[in-house]
């Protein structure tokens, strides 16, 4: 477990910034990658978004005031970068964001970096139909196994609100899967 405060100090010191940044990448790359991947679906897109996230972190770390935990701040950047990426793609194709997410999922069957069966594709389709907040909460709780308090720190939403979001998300997913499989 790294000492976040000490790491931030080294990141904000020009002499030790690069060395500390390498430690930061090593510590958080996998967690951030899987968070991003669940949102943007494709590996290549997740790779782009992840690299952009770390570059944003590197450039913005001098202004990081430690009002939140470092990982919460980084997860927020990763989330925003993922959403921005999808919004940009949607604009380029002149479609809305929900349709864009469904398009991304529809490519899964032919995606070499996806090994799921039909029901797993249906689950991804169901998640793509959720409103943005519910989708984020579901991904973070169900797939990333994060605790409500961790999610609350990142999304700046109360634990109660998150529980409600998750409950509604799961119910909608259940309904979607039932419709598709009957």
């Amino acid at each position: 477990m790294i000492d976040e405060i000490a790491l931030v100090e080294e990141l904000q010191n020009i002499q030790t910034k690069e060395k500390a940044f390498r430690i930061l990448i090593k510590e958080y790359k996998e967690r951030l990658y899987w968070h991003i991947r669940k949102i943007v679906i494709s590996h290549d897109d997740a790779d782009d978004v992840l690299q952009n996230t770390f570059i944003k972190v590197f450039k913005g770390i001098d202004n990081f005031k430690q009002e939140s935990k470092l990982y919460s701040w980084m997860y927020r950047i990763a989330t925003n970068e993922s959403i921005t990426f999808i919004n940009k793609r949607a604009r380029e194709r002149n479609i809305d964001i929900t349709e864009m997410k469904q398009k991304l999922v529809s490519n899964l069957e032919s995606d070499k970096w996806f090994s799921g069966n039909d029901i797993e594709i249906i689950l991804q389709e169901a998640v793509a139909t959720l409103p943005e907040k519910q989708q984020l909460v579901f991904n973070m709780k169900y797939f990333n196994h994060m605790k409500y308090q961790q999610i609350s720190d990142i999304l700046d939403t109360s634990v109660g609100g998150l529980k409600a979001s998750y409950f509604h998300a799961v119910k909608k997913i259940e309904l979607y899967i039932k419709k598709k499989t009957h």
Partner: protein, 175 residues
């Protein structure tokens, strides 16, 4: 029977006696919801079906480090913008604006740049610019570029808006 009734009665607490234990608000409703959720979750697939190339995470660090290293070339210190007269700053805007217009990868309009710099002229830092304009690929426009003052002046002289710029410079002097 009567004895049993009395025996039973001795074990039964009076409704007036409180246990002293309390529970959070909506606790029992929460239990129902949690149970319902657990039942649904049990039926959902749990495998991680997203895969990655074998050496992806090993190679990732190198790619990111390469991107954060300053590119070879001149360095533009954005803090110097504060010391350059407004007219010269506008020349910088024209320079970057031209760069953006020629660069098809950028979605940023020329007006957006001008408006943003105009509003934030006193507080511009390189972090602000990179964080504010998330759609711009700064690698393409090479932001770390030094512009000599002679180049700025030459740009001003050749500018179509020279009259406007001179007026702006005069206003700046008065202030």
């Amino acid at each position: 029977m009567r004895e049993n009734d009395e025996h039973t009665q001795n074990w039964k607490l009076s409704d007036d006696i409180k246990t002293g234990f309390t529970v959070p608000e909506n606790y029992f409703k929460g239990i129902e919801d949690d149970f319902s959720l657990n039942l649904i979750e049990e039926k959902l697939p749990k495998n991680n079906v997203f895969e990655i190339p074998k050496t992806y995470f090993e190679e990732l660090d190198h790619h990111i480090i390469e991107k954060i290293k300053p590119k070879k070339g001149k360095i533009l210190n954005f803090k110097k913008i504060k010391l350059i007269p407004v007219a010269a700053t506008i020349a910088l805007i024209i320079f970057f604006g031209t760069n953006f217009l020629l660069n098809n990868n950028s979605e940023l309009s020329y007006d957006e740049i001008v408006n943003w710099v105009d509003m934030n002229i006193n507080t511009i830092s390189s972090d602000d610019i990179t964080i504010a304009f998330t759609d711009v690929n700064f690698d393409d426009i090479n932001p770390y570029v030094t512009i000599k003052s002679e180049d700025i002046i030459e740009s001003l002289i050749n500018s179509d808006d020279i009259d406007f710029l001179i007026e702006e410079a005069n206003i700046n002097e008065i202030n």
